[in-house]
Protein backbone atom coordinates (compact mmCIF):
# COMPACT_ATOMS: atom_id res chain seq x y z
CA UNK A 1 0.00 0.00 0.00
CA UNK A 2 1.33 3.31 -1.06
CA UNK A 3 2.13 5.68 1.66
CA UNK A 4 -0.03 8.81 1.66
CA UNK A 5 1.45 12.18 2.20
CA UNK A 6 0.08 14.22 5.04
CA UNK A 7 -1.71 16.45 2.61
CA UNK A 8 -3.39 13.50 0.90
CA UNK A 9 -4.42 12.03 4.21
CA UNK A 10 -6.04 15.29 5.19
CA UNK A 11 -7.78 15.48 1.88
CA UNK A 12 -9.05 11.95 2.22
CA UNK A 13 -10.24 12.53 5.71
CA UNK A 14 -12.04 15.68 4.76
CA UNK A 15 -13.89 13.99 1.93
CA UNK A 16 -17.47 13.47 2.95
CA UNK A 17 -16.69 14.27 6.52
CA UNK A 18 -19.54 16.76 6.54
CA UNK A 19 -22.00 14.28 5.10
CA UNK A 20 -22.58 12.34 8.28
CA UNK A 21 -23.03 15.59 10.17
CA UNK A 22 -25.34 17.06 7.58
CA UNK A 23 -27.32 13.86 7.37
CA UNK A 24 -27.65 13.49 11.11
CA UNK A 25 -31.07 13.68 12.69
CA UNK A 26 -30.07 16.78 14.62
CA UNK A 27 -28.95 18.67 11.55
CA UNK A 28 -31.96 17.65 9.52
CA UNK A 29 -34.20 18.79 12.32
CA UNK A 30 -32.69 22.27 12.06
CA UNK A 31 -32.62 22.74 8.32
CA UNK A 32 -35.72 22.36 6.24
CA UNK A 33 -35.86 19.96 3.30
CA UNK A 34 -34.21 21.57 0.33
CA UNK A 35 -32.02 23.80 2.44
CA UNK A 36 -28.52 24.24 1.06
CA UNK A 37 -27.24 23.33 4.50
CA UNK A 38 -28.68 19.86 4.07
CA UNK A 39 -27.66 18.95 0.59
CA UNK A 40 -25.00 21.47 -0.26
CA UNK A 41 -25.45 24.19 -2.82
CA UNK A 42 -25.05 23.86 -6.52
CA UNK A 43 -26.21 26.64 -8.75
CA UNK A 44 -29.57 25.84 -10.24
CA UNK A 45 -32.85 27.75 -10.45
CA UNK A 46 -34.31 25.34 -7.93
CA UNK A 47 -31.53 25.91 -5.42
CA UNK A 48 -31.72 29.66 -5.97
CA UNK A 49 -35.33 29.49 -4.89
CA UNK A 50 -34.49 27.27 -1.94
CA UNK A 51 -31.95 29.78 -0.63
CA UNK A 52 -34.71 32.34 -0.24
CA UNK A 53 -37.45 30.00 0.84
CA UNK A 54 -35.58 28.15 3.53
CA UNK A 55 -34.36 31.10 5.55
CA UNK A 56 -36.64 33.10 7.72
CA UNK A 57 -34.79 36.37 7.13
CA UNK A 58 -34.31 36.04 3.38
CA UNK A 59 -37.93 35.03 3.26
CA UNK A 60 -38.80 38.72 3.53
CA UNK A 61 -37.96 38.71 -0.15
CA UNK A 62 -39.90 36.95 -2.87
CA UNK A 63 -38.09 34.25 -4.79
CA UNK A 64 -37.99 36.44 -7.87
CA UNK A 65 -37.92 40.20 -8.29
CA UNK A 66 -38.31 42.50 -11.24
CA UNK A 67 -35.10 42.91 -13.13
CA UNK A 68 -35.17 46.69 -13.14
CA UNK A 69 -35.64 46.73 -9.35
CA UNK A 70 -32.30 45.14 -8.55
CA UNK A 71 -30.40 47.99 -10.14
CA UNK A 72 -28.77 49.92 -7.34
CA UNK A 73 -29.41 53.18 -9.18
CA UNK A 74 -33.15 52.61 -8.99
CA UNK A 75 -33.67 52.31 -5.23
CA UNK A 76 -30.23 53.29 -3.95
CA UNK A 77 -31.04 50.60 -1.40
CA UNK A 78 -32.50 53.33 0.81
CA UNK A 79 -35.37 51.31 2.25
CA UNK A 80 -33.08 48.42 3.03
CA UNK A 81 -30.58 50.82 4.57
CA UNK A 82 -33.28 52.28 6.81
CA UNK A 83 -34.12 48.81 8.04
CA UNK A 84 -30.48 47.90 8.45
CA UNK A 85 -29.78 51.07 10.43
CA UNK A 86 -32.74 50.27 12.62
CA UNK A 87 -31.23 46.87 13.37
CA UNK A 88 -27.81 48.41 14.08
CA UNK A 89 -29.46 50.94 16.38
CA UNK A 90 -31.37 48.21 18.17
CA UNK A 91 -28.24 46.19 18.80
CA UNK A 92 -26.08 49.12 19.90
CA UNK A 93 -29.00 50.50 21.89
CA UNK A 94 -29.44 47.28 23.85
CA UNK A 95 -25.73 47.31 24.50
CA UNK A 96 -25.87 50.89 25.77
CA UNK A 97 -28.75 50.04 28.10
CA UNK A 98 -26.36 47.96 30.18
CA UNK A 99 -24.47 51.11 31.15
CA UNK A 100 -27.17 53.67 31.46
CA UNK A 101 -29.60 54.70 34.21
CA UNK A 102 -32.31 57.23 33.33
CA UNK A 103 -31.88 59.13 36.60
CA UNK A 104 -29.74 61.99 37.80
CA UNK A 105 -26.88 59.50 37.28
CA UNK A 106 -27.46 59.56 33.52
CA UNK A 107 -24.76 62.10 32.71
CA UNK A 108 -22.21 60.34 34.89
CA UNK A 109 -23.09 57.06 33.23
CA UNK A 110 -22.42 58.52 29.79
CA UNK A 111 -19.10 59.89 30.98
CA UNK A 112 -18.16 56.53 32.48
CA UNK A 113 -19.27 54.81 29.29
CA UNK A 114 -16.97 57.00 27.21
CA UNK A 115 -13.97 56.73 29.49
CA UNK A 116 -13.99 53.38 31.24
CA UNK A 117 -16.04 50.93 29.15
CA UNK A 118 -14.32 49.00 26.38
CA UNK A 119 -15.59 50.29 23.03
CA UNK A 120 -18.06 52.41 24.95
CA UNK A 121 -17.25 55.55 23.05
CA UNK A 122 -17.36 53.78 19.70
CA UNK A 123 -20.70 52.16 20.35
CA UNK A 124 -22.20 55.40 21.61
CA UNK A 125 -20.92 57.20 18.53
CA UNK A 126 -22.35 54.50 16.31
CA UNK A 127 -25.68 54.83 18.01
CA UNK A 128 -25.77 58.59 17.67
CA UNK A 129 -24.45 58.90 14.11
CA UNK A 130 -26.51 55.91 13.10
CA UNK A 131 -29.61 57.64 14.41
CA UNK A 132 -28.88 60.81 12.47
CA UNK A 133 -28.16 58.71 9.40
CA UNK A 134 -31.41 56.84 9.81
CA UNK A 135 -33.42 60.05 9.88
CA UNK A 136 -31.61 61.16 6.77
CA UNK A 137 -31.94 57.85 4.96
CA UNK A 138 -35.63 57.49 5.79
CA UNK A 139 -36.22 60.97 4.46
CA UNK A 140 -34.24 60.22 1.30
CA UNK A 141 -36.17 56.99 0.91
CA UNK A 142 -39.39 58.94 1.01
CA UNK A 143 -38.10 61.37 -1.59
CA UNK A 144 -36.99 58.52 -3.82
CA UNK A 145 -40.42 56.94 -3.57
CA UNK A 146 -42.05 60.23 -4.43
CA UNK A 147 -39.91 60.89 -7.47
CA UNK A 148 -40.61 57.42 -8.80
CA UNK A 149 -44.33 57.92 -8.27
CA UNK A 150 -44.26 54.71 -6.28
CA UNK A 151 -47.04 55.89 -3.97
CA UNK A 152 -49.63 55.49 -6.71
CA UNK A 153 -52.24 52.77 -6.89
CA UNK A 154 -52.12 50.16 -5.50
CA UNK A 155 -49.47 51.47 -3.11
CA UNK A 156 -51.33 54.45 -1.66
CA UNK A 157 -51.76 53.01 1.78
CA UNK A 158 -48.19 51.83 2.02
CA UNK A 159 -47.14 55.43 1.49
CA UNK A 160 -49.33 56.38 4.46
CA UNK A 161 -47.61 53.70 6.52
CA UNK A 162 -44.31 55.10 5.32
CA UNK A 163 -45.19 58.62 6.48
CA UNK A 164 -46.11 57.19 9.88
CA UNK A 165 -42.75 55.40 9.93
CA UNK A 166 -40.97 58.67 9.15
CA UNK A 167 -42.66 60.38 12.07
CA UNK A 168 -41.95 57.44 14.37
CA UNK A 169 -38.31 57.67 13.33
CA UNK A 170 -38.31 61.35 14.25
CA UNK A 171 -39.95 60.60 17.60
CA UNK A 172 -37.39 57.88 18.29
CA UNK A 173 -34.56 60.24 17.50
CA UNK A 174 -36.07 63.08 19.49
CA UNK A 175 -36.69 60.96 22.62
CA UNK A 176 -33.14 59.63 22.38
CA UNK A 177 -31.79 63.15 22.13
CA UNK A 178 -32.51 63.83 25.79
CA UNK A 179 -30.85 60.74 27.20
CA UNK A 180 -27.22 61.96 27.47
CA UNK A 181 -28.60 64.54 29.90
CA UNK A 182 -26.22 67.29 28.95
CA UNK A 183 -26.95 70.91 28.10
CA UNK A 184 -27.39 70.09 24.42
CA UNK A 185 -29.95 67.43 25.22
CA UNK A 186 -32.06 69.24 27.76
CA UNK A 187 -32.32 72.49 25.82
CA UNK A 188 -32.99 70.87 22.48
CA UNK A 189 -35.79 68.92 24.05
CA UNK A 190 -37.06 72.01 25.80
CA UNK A 191 -37.23 73.81 22.48
CA UNK A 192 -38.99 70.84 20.90
CA UNK A 193 -41.43 70.61 23.79
CA UNK A 194 -42.18 74.32 23.51
CA UNK A 195 -42.99 73.81 19.85
CA UNK A 196 -45.44 71.07 20.82
CA UNK A 197 -47.03 73.46 23.33
CA UNK A 198 -48.21 75.64 20.44
CA UNK A 199 -50.79 72.99 19.57
CA UNK A 200 -54.08 74.91 19.55
CA UNK A 201 -56.33 73.51 22.22
CA UNK A 202 -54.31 70.97 24.15
CA UNK A 203 -50.90 72.62 23.89
CA UNK A 204 -50.25 72.90 27.60
CA UNK A 205 -51.52 69.39 28.25
CA UNK A 206 -49.33 67.92 25.54
CA UNK A 207 -46.26 69.61 26.92
CA UNK A 208 -47.13 68.53 30.44
CA UNK A 209 -47.65 64.95 29.29
CA UNK A 210 -44.42 64.96 27.33
CA UNK A 211 -42.31 66.48 30.10
CA UNK A 212 -44.06 64.84 33.03
CA UNK A 213 -44.14 68.35 34.49
CA UNK A 214 -43.71 71.92 33.42
CA UNK A 215 -40.09 71.64 32.39
CA UNK A 216 -37.50 69.00 31.57
CA UNK A 217 -36.50 67.16 34.75
CA UNK A 218 -35.34 63.66 35.58
CA UNK A 219 -39.00 62.63 35.42
CA UNK A 220 -38.88 63.72 31.78
CA UNK A 221 -35.71 61.70 31.38
CA UNK A 222 -37.40 58.54 32.63
CA UNK A 223 -40.41 59.20 30.41
CA UNK A 224 -38.28 59.73 27.32
CA UNK A 225 -36.19 56.69 28.18
CA UNK A 226 -39.20 54.39 28.30
CA UNK A 227 -40.60 55.91 25.12
CA UNK A 228 -37.21 55.55 23.45
CA UNK A 229 -36.23 52.01 24.38
CA UNK A 230 -39.61 50.34 24.56
CA UNK A 231 -42.65 52.20 23.35
CA UNK A 232 -41.59 53.61 20.00
CA UNK A 233 -39.50 50.59 18.97
CA UNK A 234 -42.51 48.43 19.70
CA UNK A 235 -44.78 50.61 17.61
CA UNK A 236 -42.33 51.06 14.78
CA UNK A 237 -41.72 47.33 14.44
CA UNK A 238 -45.43 46.76 13.96
CA UNK A 239 -45.63 49.42 11.28
CA UNK A 240 -42.46 48.13 9.65
CA UNK A 241 -43.97 44.67 9.44
CA UNK A 242 -47.06 46.08 7.75
CA UNK A 243 -44.86 48.17 5.46
CA UNK A 244 -42.77 45.23 4.27
CA UNK A 245 -45.78 43.01 3.94
CA UNK A 246 -47.58 45.57 1.83
CA UNK A 247 -44.56 46.03 -0.40
CA UNK A 248 -44.92 42.42 -1.44
CA UNK A 249 -48.70 42.33 -1.51
CA UNK A 250 -48.82 45.40 -3.72
CA UNK A 251 -46.68 43.67 -6.30
CA UNK A 252 -43.12 44.34 -5.22
CA UNK A 253 -41.18 47.29 -6.37
CA UNK A 254 -42.89 49.88 -8.55
CA UNK A 255 -41.90 50.91 -12.00
CA UNK A 256 -40.10 50.76 -14.30
CA UNK A 257 -40.51 54.43 -15.06
Amino acid sequence: MAKLTLRERFKKGAEGSGDSLRGSKFATSIFRPGSPFRKGYSDSPRNRSYVVMNNVLYHLHPVKVKRHGVRLSYTLCLGGMSFFLFIVLTITGIWLMFYFRPTEMAYADIQALQTSVAFGSLVRNMHRWGAHLMVLVVFLHMSRVFYHGAYKAPREFNWVIGVILLFLTLFLSFTGYLLPWDQLAIWAVTVGGNMASYTPVFGAQIKFGLFAGLEATTATLLRFYVLHVLFFPFIIVIFMAIHFWRVRKDGGISGPL
Binding site: R48, V65, F84, R124, G149, A153, D182, M195, T199
Partner: protein, 330 residues
Protein backbone atom coordinates in the same frame (compact mmCIF):
# COMPACT_ATOMS: atom_id res chain seq x y z
CA UNK B 1 -33.60 2.14 -18.77
CA UNK B 2 -35.15 3.13 -15.49
CA UNK B 3 -36.07 0.33 -13.18
CA UNK B 4 -39.78 0.27 -12.65
CA UNK B 5 -40.79 -1.05 -9.23
CA UNK B 6 -42.27 -4.54 -9.38
CA UNK B 7 -45.63 -3.63 -7.93
CA UNK B 8 -46.18 -0.84 -10.43
CA UNK B 9 -45.21 -3.13 -13.28
CA UNK B 10 -47.64 -5.76 -12.05
CA UNK B 11 -50.44 -3.25 -11.79
CA UNK B 12 -50.00 -1.99 -15.30
CA UNK B 13 -49.67 -5.54 -16.58
CA UNK B 14 -53.02 -6.37 -14.99
CA UNK B 15 -54.56 -3.37 -16.67
CA UNK B 16 -53.11 -4.32 -19.99
CA UNK B 17 -54.19 -7.91 -19.63
CA UNK B 18 -57.71 -6.81 -18.89
CA UNK B 19 -57.75 -4.45 -21.82
CA UNK B 20 -56.42 -6.91 -24.36
CA UNK B 21 -58.01 -10.02 -22.95
CA UNK B 22 -54.74 -11.83 -22.43
CA UNK B 23 -53.33 -13.35 -19.29
CA UNK B 24 -51.48 -11.28 -16.75
CA UNK B 25 -48.33 -13.35 -17.13
CA UNK B 26 -48.33 -12.77 -20.85
CA UNK B 27 -48.81 -9.06 -20.43
CA UNK B 28 -46.02 -8.94 -17.92
CA UNK B 29 -43.73 -10.78 -20.25
CA UNK B 30 -44.64 -8.43 -23.04
CA UNK B 31 -43.91 -5.41 -20.95
CA UNK B 32 -40.57 -6.76 -19.94
CA UNK B 33 -39.82 -7.32 -23.59
CA UNK B 34 -39.65 -11.10 -23.30
CA UNK B 35 -42.34 -11.72 -25.89
CA UNK B 36 -43.77 -9.79 -28.79
CA UNK B 37 -46.56 -7.43 -27.88
CA UNK B 38 -50.10 -8.47 -28.68
CA UNK B 39 -51.58 -6.32 -31.37
CA UNK B 40 -55.30 -5.80 -31.12
CA UNK B 41 -56.89 -5.57 -34.52
CA UNK B 42 -60.49 -5.16 -33.49
CA UNK B 43 -62.59 -5.78 -30.45
CA UNK B 44 -65.06 -8.45 -31.38
CA UNK B 45 -66.56 -8.99 -27.96
CA UNK B 46 -67.36 -5.34 -27.62
CA UNK B 47 -69.50 -5.45 -30.70
CA UNK B 48 -71.35 -8.53 -29.76
CA UNK B 49 -72.20 -7.17 -26.35
CA UNK B 50 -73.46 -4.07 -28.02
CA UNK B 51 -76.05 -5.87 -30.03
CA UNK B 52 -78.09 -7.48 -27.29
CA UNK B 53 -78.00 -4.35 -25.22
CA UNK B 54 -80.50 -2.26 -27.18
CA UNK B 55 -82.74 -5.26 -27.67
CA UNK B 56 -83.29 -5.63 -23.96
CA UNK B 57 -83.28 -1.97 -23.26
CA UNK B 58 -86.23 -1.36 -25.48
CA UNK B 59 -88.64 -3.68 -23.85
CA UNK B 60 -88.10 -3.57 -20.15
CA UNK B 61 -91.18 -1.61 -19.26
CA UNK B 62 -93.85 -3.84 -20.85
CA UNK B 63 -92.09 -6.95 -19.69
CA UNK B 64 -92.37 -6.33 -16.01
CA UNK B 65 -95.78 -4.79 -15.92
CA UNK B 66 -98.14 -7.32 -17.21
CA UNK B 67 -99.46 -7.87 -13.72
CA UNK B 68 -102.31 -6.13 -11.98
CA UNK B 69 -102.63 -2.49 -11.10
CA UNK B 70 -101.50 -2.89 -7.54
CA UNK B 71 -97.96 -3.72 -8.22
CA UNK B 72 -96.84 -0.58 -9.98
CA UNK B 73 -99.05 1.37 -7.64
CA UNK B 74 -97.04 0.14 -4.71
CA UNK B 75 -93.92 1.15 -6.40
CA UNK B 76 -95.20 4.63 -6.84
CA UNK B 77 -96.85 5.38 -3.57
CA UNK B 78 -93.69 6.57 -1.79
CA UNK B 79 -93.02 8.87 -4.70
CA UNK B 80 -94.42 12.44 -4.80
CA UNK B 81 -98.02 12.73 -3.73
CA UNK B 82 -98.20 16.47 -3.71
CA UNK B 83 -100.54 16.93 -6.64
CA UNK B 84 -103.53 14.78 -5.84
CA UNK B 85 -106.01 16.96 -7.71
CA UNK B 86 -106.44 15.78 -11.22
CA UNK B 87 -108.54 18.32 -13.06
CA UNK B 88 -105.96 20.56 -14.57
CA UNK B 89 -104.82 18.91 -17.66
CA UNK B 90 -102.64 21.64 -19.15
CA UNK B 91 -100.71 21.94 -15.92
CA UNK B 92 -99.95 18.31 -16.03
CA UNK B 93 -98.83 18.48 -19.53
CA UNK B 94 -96.32 21.08 -18.52
CA UNK B 95 -94.97 19.29 -15.54
CA UNK B 96 -94.55 15.80 -16.72
CA UNK B 97 -92.60 14.30 -13.88
CA UNK B 98 -95.16 14.19 -11.06
CA UNK B 99 -98.05 13.65 -13.37
CA UNK B 100 -98.39 9.96 -13.26
CA UNK B 101 -98.13 9.64 -9.55
CA UNK B 102 -101.07 11.49 -8.05
CA UNK B 103 -104.23 9.50 -7.81
CA UNK B 104 -104.27 6.65 -10.09
CA UNK B 105 -103.32 3.18 -9.20
CA UNK B 106 -103.50 2.37 -12.85
CA UNK B 107 -100.07 2.63 -14.24
CA UNK B 108 -98.29 4.75 -16.77
CA UNK B 109 -97.03 1.51 -18.08
CA UNK B 110 -100.54 0.87 -19.21
CA UNK B 111 -100.18 3.56 -21.72
CA UNK B 112 -97.92 1.16 -23.49
CA UNK B 113 -99.41 -2.08 -22.32
CA UNK B 114 -102.81 -2.57 -23.86
CA UNK B 115 -104.83 -2.84 -20.60
CA UNK B 116 -106.09 0.59 -19.49
CA UNK B 117 -109.38 -0.87 -18.41
CA UNK B 118 -110.07 0.68 -15.04
CA UNK B 119 -109.13 4.33 -15.68
CA UNK B 120 -110.58 5.86 -12.54
CA UNK B 121 -109.54 9.36 -13.45
CA UNK B 122 -109.78 9.71 -17.09
CA UNK B 123 -108.36 13.16 -17.61
CA UNK B 124 -104.81 12.17 -17.06
CA UNK B 125 -104.49 9.65 -19.73
CA UNK B 126 -103.27 11.88 -22.50
CA UNK B 127 -100.71 13.40 -20.19
CA UNK B 128 -99.37 10.00 -19.39
CA UNK B 129 -99.12 9.06 -22.93
CA UNK B 130 -97.02 12.12 -23.51
CA UNK B 131 -94.54 11.39 -20.79
CA UNK B 132 -93.25 7.91 -21.10
CA UNK B 133 -89.76 8.80 -19.91
CA UNK B 134 -90.38 8.70 -16.16
CA UNK B 135 -92.47 5.63 -16.68
CA UNK B 136 -89.57 3.71 -17.95
CA UNK B 137 -87.41 4.89 -15.15
CA UNK B 138 -89.80 3.49 -12.61
CA UNK B 139 -90.73 0.36 -14.29
CA UNK B 140 -87.45 -1.48 -13.80
CA UNK B 141 -87.55 -0.88 -10.09
CA UNK B 142 -90.07 -3.57 -9.09
CA UNK B 143 -88.47 -6.10 -11.38
CA UNK B 144 -86.01 -7.95 -9.23
CA UNK B 145 -85.34 -10.99 -11.34
CA UNK B 146 -84.37 -9.12 -14.43
CA UNK B 147 -81.21 -7.07 -14.65
CA UNK B 148 -81.56 -4.42 -17.28
CA UNK B 149 -78.98 -2.12 -15.69
CA UNK B 150 -76.09 -4.24 -16.82
CA UNK B 151 -76.93 -4.00 -20.42
CA UNK B 152 -77.74 -0.33 -20.25
CA UNK B 153 -74.08 0.48 -20.17
CA UNK B 154 -71.59 -0.34 -22.77
CA UNK B 155 -68.66 -2.48 -21.68
CA UNK B 156 -66.08 -0.55 -19.73
CA UNK B 157 -63.35 -1.42 -22.12
CA UNK B 158 -65.07 0.41 -24.87
CA UNK B 159 -66.49 3.53 -23.27
CA UNK B 160 -64.44 5.28 -20.63
CA UNK B 161 -65.66 8.79 -21.11
CA UNK B 162 -68.29 10.80 -22.81
CA UNK B 163 -68.75 14.33 -23.91
CA UNK B 164 -70.86 16.33 -21.52
CA UNK B 165 -70.45 19.78 -22.90
CA UNK B 166 -67.97 21.94 -24.70
CA UNK B 167 -66.57 24.76 -22.62
CA UNK B 168 -64.85 27.62 -24.31
CA UNK B 169 -61.18 27.85 -23.41
CA UNK B 170 -61.29 30.76 -21.02
CA UNK B 171 -59.10 31.00 -17.91
CA UNK B 172 -60.76 31.18 -14.51
CA UNK B 173 -58.36 33.88 -13.42
CA UNK B 174 -57.76 36.64 -15.84
CA UNK B 175 -54.16 37.68 -15.95
CA UNK B 176 -54.42 41.39 -16.48
CA UNK B 177 -50.78 42.14 -15.80
CA UNK B 178 -48.21 41.75 -18.48
CA UNK B 179 -45.57 39.16 -17.78
CA UNK B 180 -42.57 40.99 -16.35
CA UNK B 181 -38.90 40.32 -16.66
CA UNK B 182 -37.83 38.82 -13.36
CA UNK B 183 -34.60 37.56 -11.90
CA UNK B 184 -33.85 35.35 -8.95
CA UNK B 185 -33.60 37.20 -5.67
CA UNK B 186 -30.59 35.11 -4.87
CA UNK B 187 -28.08 36.19 -6.05
CA UNK B 188 -29.24 39.19 -8.10
CA UNK B 189 -30.86 41.16 -5.28
CA UNK B 190 -29.29 39.74 -2.16
CA UNK B 191 -25.73 40.19 -3.28
CA UNK B 192 -25.99 43.96 -3.98
CA UNK B 193 -27.99 44.27 -0.80
CA UNK B 194 -25.33 42.51 1.21
CA UNK B 195 -22.59 44.62 -0.30
CA UNK B 196 -24.37 47.92 0.39
CA UNK B 197 -25.12 46.70 3.89
CA UNK B 198 -21.45 46.00 4.50
CA UNK B 199 -20.52 49.35 2.98
CA UNK B 200 -22.96 51.14 5.27
CA UNK B 201 -21.61 49.26 8.26
CA UNK B 202 -18.05 50.16 7.34
CA UNK B 203 -19.02 53.77 6.80
CA UNK B 204 -20.77 53.95 10.16
CA UNK B 205 -17.89 52.36 12.06
CA UNK B 206 -15.30 54.60 10.43
CA UNK B 207 -17.48 57.65 11.03
CA UNK B 208 -17.89 56.69 14.67
CA UNK B 209 -14.20 56.08 15.09
CA UNK B 210 -13.34 59.51 13.69
CA UNK B 211 -16.12 61.76 14.92
CA UNK B 212 -16.82 61.99 18.61
CA UNK B 213 -20.49 62.39 19.52
CA UNK B 214 -21.04 65.64 21.42
CA UNK B 215 -21.33 65.61 25.18
CA UNK B 216 -21.54 69.04 26.78
CA UNK B 217 -21.60 69.82 30.47
CA UNK B 218 -24.32 68.28 32.59
CA UNK B 219 -27.90 69.41 32.09
CA UNK B 220 -28.70 72.51 34.09
CA UNK B 221 -32.19 74.03 33.81
CA UNK B 222 -30.91 77.29 35.29
CA UNK B 223 -28.42 78.03 32.53
CA UNK B 224 -30.10 78.63 29.20
CA UNK B 225 -27.71 78.51 26.25
CA UNK B 226 -28.10 81.24 23.68
CA UNK B 227 -29.22 80.21 21.18
CA UNK B 228 -31.04 77.08 22.31
CA UNK B 229 -31.48 74.90 19.28
CA UNK B 230 -33.62 71.82 18.63
CA UNK B 231 -32.26 68.67 16.95
CA UNK B 232 -31.23 69.42 13.37
CA UNK B 233 -34.32 67.84 11.78
CA UNK B 234 -36.51 70.28 13.74
CA UNK B 235 -34.38 73.32 13.03
CA UNK B 236 -36.23 74.16 9.84
CA UNK B 237 -39.33 74.26 11.95
CA UNK B 238 -37.64 76.38 14.57
CA UNK B 239 -36.52 78.74 11.84
CA UNK B 240 -40.08 78.93 10.51
CA UNK B 241 -41.25 79.71 14.04
CA UNK B 242 -39.17 82.86 13.98
CA UNK B 243 -41.11 84.15 10.96
CA UNK B 244 -44.67 83.19 11.65
CA UNK B 245 -47.09 82.91 14.47
CA UNK B 246 -46.39 79.75 16.44
CA UNK B 247 -49.94 78.58 15.86
CA UNK B 248 -49.13 78.45 12.16
CA UNK B 249 -45.49 77.50 12.10
CA UNK B 250 -45.51 75.22 15.11
CA UNK B 251 -48.74 73.39 14.39
CA UNK B 252 -49.92 73.95 10.85
CA UNK B 253 -46.61 73.11 9.22
CA UNK B 254 -45.66 69.93 11.06
CA UNK B 255 -49.13 68.56 11.65
CA UNK B 256 -51.22 69.69 8.72
CA UNK B 257 -48.55 69.83 6.03
CA UNK B 258 -46.14 67.33 7.50
CA UNK B 259 -48.29 64.51 8.74
CA UNK B 260 -51.70 64.87 7.15
CA UNK B 261 -50.58 66.54 3.95
CA UNK B 262 -47.84 64.03 3.26
CA UNK B 263 -50.03 61.06 4.07
CA UNK B 264 -52.70 62.41 1.75
CA UNK B 265 -50.39 62.81 -1.25
CA UNK B 266 -51.50 59.61 -3.00
CA UNK B 267 -55.13 60.58 -2.53
CA UNK B 268 -54.61 64.09 -3.85
CA UNK B 269 -52.42 63.18 -6.78
CA UNK B 270 -54.72 60.95 -8.85
CA UNK B 271 -52.53 61.06 -11.93
CA UNK B 272 -51.72 57.41 -12.60
CA UNK B 273 -48.55 58.16 -14.55
CA UNK B 274 -45.20 57.53 -12.92
CA UNK B 275 -43.10 58.79 -15.75
CA UNK B 276 -41.46 62.02 -14.52
CA UNK B 277 -42.18 63.85 -17.75
CA UNK B 278 -45.90 63.27 -17.27
CA UNK B 279 -46.14 64.48 -13.71
CA UNK B 280 -44.19 67.68 -13.78
CA UNK B 281 -46.56 69.52 -11.49
CA UNK B 282 -46.29 66.97 -8.68
CA UNK B 283 -42.53 66.83 -8.98
CA UNK B 284 -42.32 70.60 -9.00
CA UNK B 285 -44.41 70.89 -5.83
CA UNK B 286 -42.41 68.27 -4.00
CA UNK B 287 -39.13 69.79 -5.07
CA UNK B 288 -40.31 73.17 -3.85
CA UNK B 289 -41.11 71.61 -0.51
CA UNK B 290 -37.75 69.86 -0.32
CA UNK B 291 -35.90 73.02 -1.26
CA UNK B 292 -37.85 75.09 1.25
CA UNK B 293 -37.38 72.62 4.08
CA UNK B 294 -33.72 72.19 3.24
CA UNK B 295 -33.13 75.94 3.09
CA UNK B 296 -34.87 76.56 6.39
CA UNK B 297 -32.94 73.73 8.03
CA UNK B 298 -29.59 74.96 6.76
CA UNK B 299 -30.39 78.50 7.86
CA UNK B 300 -31.45 77.22 11.27
CA UNK B 301 -28.33 75.11 11.68
CA UNK B 302 -25.66 77.39 10.31
CA UNK B 303 -26.90 80.96 10.02
CA UNK B 304 -28.57 81.60 13.34
CA UNK B 305 -26.64 82.79 16.33
CA UNK B 306 -27.40 84.31 19.73
CA UNK B 307 -30.87 85.77 19.99
CA UNK B 308 -31.71 83.93 16.76
CA UNK B 309 -29.93 86.69 14.88
CA UNK B 310 -28.43 86.13 11.47
CA UNK B 311 -24.80 85.06 11.57
CA UNK B 312 -22.39 83.85 8.98
CA UNK B 313 -20.69 80.58 9.90
CA UNK B 314 -17.42 81.64 8.27
CA UNK B 315 -17.38 84.93 10.21
CA UNK B 316 -19.15 84.32 13.48
CA UNK B 317 -18.66 80.58 13.75
CA UNK B 318 -21.21 77.83 14.09
CA UNK B 319 -23.84 78.23 16.75
CA UNK B 320 -25.01 74.66 16.82
CA UNK B 321 -23.46 72.60 19.57
CA UNK B 322 -24.39 69.27 17.99
CA UNK B 323 -22.24 70.21 15.02
CA UNK B 324 -19.74 72.36 16.86
CA UNK B 325 -18.53 69.75 19.24
CA UNK B 326 -17.24 67.31 16.66
CA UNK B 327 -16.15 69.79 14.01
CA UNK B 328 -13.50 71.09 16.38
CA UNK B 329 -12.72 67.64 17.68
CA UNK B 330 -8.98 67.21 17.44
Amino acid sequence: MVDIPEHLLLRSAEARAKALGISVEQALAEMKGESTPTVVAEEPEVIEIDTPAPAKAEVPAPVETPVTEEEPAKAEVPAPVETPVTEEEPAKAEVPAPVETPVTEEEPAKAEVPAPVETPVTEEEPAKAEVPAPVKAKAPAPAKDDSPEEVDFAPEVKVTQRLLTVVKAKPIQKASAEPVDKVNTWPHLMLPEFISLMAMMAFLIILSAILQAPLLEEANPNITPNPAKAPWYFLGLQEALSYWDPQIAGVMIPLVIGLIGFAAIPYIDRNPENNPSKRKYAIMMFTFFLAGAGTLTIIGVLFRGPGWNWTYPWIDGIWFDDLLDWIYFE
